[in-house]
Each structure stands twice: as structure tokens, then as C-alpha cells.
């Protein structure tokens, strides 16, 4: 079941904040976040695990609400380099899996 991301797109001015949400209809073991800049490959940002453990990026924060089956990515004081499409991915089976199902993405544009 593909996770649902919102919003689909957001436009910011440099220095503004943004929140990107990812929700699932099934219980989540972990949530994975990636960013893809135009014309480039997706790059790993972070993994949020059940129980609160987090692996990944120092400058981007995220939350994982296991009860609501949701994760949110917080981009504060956005920089031009934050522009790109953000994908969340969730394991395709309960209990964790190497196989992920990705959302359709949220396109973030940061303007000067």
C-alpha cells in the first residue's frame, strides 16, 4: 500500500519553513526519507524507526507517530539547496523489510 504524501508541491522563499507529511493505512515499522534533485538520483536523508530511533541527516528533523501511522519532515530556515522532490518510503511488509513502497513525492521549490 503506497504511503500518501502531502502536500504534492510547495513553494517557499529562502529562510521559510516547510513541513512534508507521509501517512500510511497500515502499521509502520519504519519510515525512510529521500530527496531527489532535478536530473539526479535520489539521496538518502533519514530513517525513523519504531521506538524513536533515528538514523540520518543532521540538519533535517523529522517525527514519526506510530499510533497515527504518520511521519513528518521539517525543513526549517530553508536554503536554495533544499529544492527537490522528497519521497517517503515504508516497508512493504510488517516487521520491517528491505523492500520499500515509496509515496508519489512532494516537490519543494525554494526561491531567493
Amino acid at each position: 500500500q503506497q504511503p500518501v504524501q502531502s502536500p504534492q508541491a510547495v513553494i517557499l522563499r529562502e529562510g521559510e519553513d516547510a513541513v512534508i507529511n507521509c501517512s500510511s493505512s497500515k502499521a509502520l515499522y519504519s519510515v525512510h526519507w529521500y530527496r531527489q534533485k532535478h536530473g539526479e538520483a535520489p539521496v538518502f536523508l533519514m530513517i525513523l524507526l519504531k521506538g524513536g530511533e533515528q538514523k540520518g541527516h543532521d540538519k533535517i528533523s523529522a517525527s514519526f507517530n506510530e499510533k497515527k501511522q504518520q511521519s513528518s519532515l521539517y525543513l526549517t530556515a530553508s536554503q536554495l539547496s533544499y529544492s527537490g522532490t522528497y519521497f517517503c518510503g515504508t516497508p512493504s511488509s510488517q516487521g520491517g523489510s528491505e523492500k520499500l513502497v515509496f509515496g508519489k513525492g512532494t516537490k519543494l521549490t525554494v526561491n531567493p
Partner: protein, 112 residues
């Protein structure tokens, strides 16, 4: 640095041709993945391999097959290319669960 390379950045094939897309990773990762990326649909998993000669179907395996004869190399095969297989194909690798996936630069395949 982990490096995932793909044999071609751009490929143009005719309908009915057999197409091979090659992916090589240099970090001794046990897991390798083939994704297809289409506008508005996100990343969709075609096939996954967790060891040499071992594979699992992803979400959209129809019309594709894979081969993994060596740990570092994972091939995607289109037995008889069709126009609806025109897309961006991304290869990735990872080690352990859950863990970050490292993506290759992608192959943009056009089937005419």
C-alpha cells in the same frame, strides 16, 4: 563512497527488442533493487535481490526479468520491449535492514 553505476544514461530501443540494463555496485552490498520512475507516480519497485541468484518480485514485475550471477551486478531484462516501458530506470543497493539505499544515476529508456 558507495558507488552504483548503470551501463547507460540514455537508451533508445525499438518495440519488440530485448533490452538489458546493467547495474554494478562496489560496496559488497547484499541487497540490490530495480525501480521505475514515472512523473507523478514516484518510485515503483520492479524487482529486488537479496543475494546472488536470489530475487523477489516487486510491485510491477510484469514484462521484466532480472539476473544476479555475481554479488556486485544486477541486470534488468526487458524480454520484448514495449512503448509503455518507456521510463527512467533506477538501480539501488543496500546492506542490512533497515538501511539506506544508494541509487545509481538512472537510465532513461525510450522505446519507439
Amino acid at each position: 563512497d558507495v558507488k552504483v553505476t548503470q551501463s547507460s544514461r540514455y537508451l533508445v530501443k525499438r518495440t519488440g527488442e530485448k533490452v538489458f540494463l546493467e547495474c554494478v555496485q562496489d560496496m559488497d552490498h547484499e541487497n540490490m533493487f530495480w525501480y521505475r520512475q514515472d512523473p507523478g507516480l514516484g518510485l515503483r519497485l520492479i524487482y529486488f535481490s537479496y543475494d546472488v541468484k536470489m530475487k523477489e518480485k516487486g510491485d510491477i514485475p510484469e514484462g521484466y526479468s532480472v539476473s544476479r550471477e555475481k554479488k556486485e551486478r544486477f541486470s534488468l531484462i526487458l524480454e520484448s520491449a514495449s512503448t509503455n516501458q518507456t521510463s527512467m530506470y533506477l538501480c539501488a543497493s543496500s546492506s542490512g535492514t533497515p538501511s539506506e539505499q544508494y541509487f545509481g544515476p538512472g537510465t532513461r529508456l525510450t522505446v519507439t
